[in-house]
């Protein structure tokens, strides 16, 4: 890689805030509301600097009344505004889920397409911090399962900025899920690979388009957010053993880029899906089904590396044991090899 000139490495948090600021400058209909998005700049840093630049009318702190402000986002979007709403933890969505999946996701359909609902809903996902079972979930599939919302989940700062810009400009509700471990907030630890060069000018990463983040020929590892980084680490270890792993970053769950996954699996003949969301009924099942339905010939049974079907435990020894990891991906690959030669 030769990007010697003008390398500008940003964290995902800063990339998100930059995209929002740029869109707010060109479109006065864009505004931000949520808990602690104002002077604090968002608990995860996504709205840093916005309050200073745009003031408390366009960057407004809300009461801790999620049903009210989520419903209000729907009403404001239906009336011509383009709200960006943050609800800190995806685990909290239960208190206002009705406004999300019954209003935000359905009003466009109920109106026969006459009433767009251009909301961007930002929320954090993921665990690993002993924050307990109500602050550590991913719930990717929960949102991807319900029609009417686009769902994106970046793994690096470049994608985060481009997906945020695309989400703000989209006329549909977009759930923007960011993983805490990738935000670049010191207190959450930092995944260095998530901090990448981010162009200063505005650009879009198209929603619904996956990326091949590492090319390979022996096995396809599919993931989003943290799963991509586990996949990349596993791929590096596998490479030392002479195995060439291709890593696919889905980036979007809805729409889902099945074509990129299929093309990769057709090439490698082996599939591992990595998801920090719960094991059963999840994204991993969806990817494997999509491949199976197309009758792709596999050299070994596909595997999923996901969070077990348990609430997230508190104590680090339990939580770290349960989380997906590069080691688990390698173990899954070894299992596939055994089944292949049997």
């Amino acid at each position: 890689m030769t990007v010697a000139t003008k390398e500008r490495k940003l964290t995902i948090a800063r990339a998100m805030a930059e995209a929002i600021a740029q869109e707010m400058r060109i479109d006065e209909k864009v505004f931000v509301m949520g808990e602690d998005v104002g002077t604090l700049g968002g608990v995860f840093g996504n709205t840093r600097g916005l309050h200073e630049e745009f003031g408390s009318v366009r960057v407004r702190d809300t009461p801790i009344s999620e049903t009210a402000f989520m419903g209000a986002a729907v009403g404001a979007a239906s009336d011509g505004m383009r709200p960006i709403v943050e609800l800190m933890f995806v685990d909290f969505f239960g208190v206002c889920f009705d406004a999300i999946y019954n209003l935000m996701a359905k009003n466009t359909y109920f109106s026969g397409g006459e009433t767009p609902v251009p909301v961007v809903l930002m929320t954090s996902t993921g665990g690993g911090y002993s924050d307990g079972g109500q602050h550590s979930q991913c719930l990717h599939a929960t949102f991807a399962h319900l029609p009417g919302m686009k769902v994106v989940a970046p793994s690096n700062a470049y994608d985060a900025k481009g997906l945020m810009t695309a989400a703000i400009r989209d006329n549909n509700p977009v759930i923007f899920m960011f993983h805490k471990a990738l935000q670049g907030m010191g207190w959450l630890g930092t995944e260095k690979d998530a901090i990448v060069h981010v162009p200063e000018e505005a650009y879009e990463v198209p929603i619904g388009k996956a990326a091949i983040v590492r090319e390979g020929s022996d096995v396809t590892i599919v993931g989003i957010t943290s799963g991509v980084h586990h996949g990349l680490k596993a791929a590096r270890t596998l490479a030392e053993r002479g195995i060439s792993a291709e890593v696919v970053d889905l980036r979007s769950l809805v729409p889902l880029d099945r074509d990129t996954v299929l093309a990769s699996v057709r090439k490698t003949g082996r599939l591992i899906v990595v998801d920090e969301d719960y094991h059963s009924y999840g994204m991993s099942a969806e990817i494997i089904s999509s491949v199976a339905e197309q009758g792709v010939t596999l050299k070994a049974p596909p595997q999923r590396v996901a969070y077990p079907d348990i609430p997230i435990p508190f104590t680090p020894v339990m939580e770290q044991w349960a989380l997906p990891s590069p080691e688990k991906i390698i173990a899954a690959f070894e299992k596939m090899q055994k089944m292949e030669t049997r």
């Binding site: 009318v57 999620e66 009403g75 505004m81 009705d98 406004a99 359909y109 109920f110 109106s111 026969g112």
Partner: protein, 328 residues
Amino acid sequence: MKPSKEQQLWMYEHMLLSRYFEESIETIYMEGKTPAFNMAKGPIPGEMHLSNGQEPCAVGVCAHLNAADVVTSTHRPHHVAIAKGVDLDRMTAEIFGKKTGLSGGRGGHMHIFDAAVNFSCSGIIAQGMGPAVGAALSRQMQQKDGVAVAFLGEGAANQGAFHETLNLAAVWKLPVVFVIEDNAWGISVSKSASTAIERNSQRAAAYGMPGHFVPGNDPLAVFEAAGEAIERARRGEGPSLIEIETYRLAGHFMGDAEGYRPEGEKDALFAKDPIPKLRAHLHAQYGWTDSDDAALVTRCNARVDSAIAFARDSAYPAPEEAMEKVFV
């Protein structure tokens, strides 16, 4: 503020329109509902919540509104939709599940959307309150004309959304009015069994906004209270809560045996029907004659009949159109 003669006639006309619409729906709904009340069958499939009896709430409030103002209504939406000026032909076609319906049959009777007059409704208790608050926020931020009105039932006052949105509207001083249509029954549970206080309008005090109670299912009194609240909102002075004593002459939904009603309640309600009452008032106040009345009734009925004919004559959508309009 008192309604002018023209405003009173407008309210009366829209009460008549709504009433005849509901009566027509009531009759047609039962067509083909066999075997034994098969809800999915007949020209009007699905659940049906009639609003006859509650017309004063709709006309008394909507008399102050124009197309730019935003209204969110409930699962019992027809009277409000008619008073707000929703396209009657397309609304009727929507209820019939036809292609010419407001959403081409995707929404149905509980999900009526007419962007041309900023009307929407939803099937879940208190759900429309957030969107109304959001529309009001949008108007405030854009310094654009228009208020938002959220209609809700008395049962919604016990929902979290009620308290959250009242607080949010008050803290942001939004141009929104919350209108409780208290018909005394949440399906089969009486208000006295579900609500700790007698008057939901008192709850306004908890959020620092005016609370009005309008007794007697009286459209003229609703007009006055709503006028005050809507003017306050238009002046930028913030939200208000209005509680209207009303009643439904029908059950919660069509097919409701209404076994929960105390003996004689229904007869007493019909004796207090607000439509003959307003007619008598117009007669006493403005010399409204029987022939004036007959002409208006004929005109309203013809309007409804023509909407129903439009709905009946319209084609069903192609089934695969179900796949469209998820995203725009």
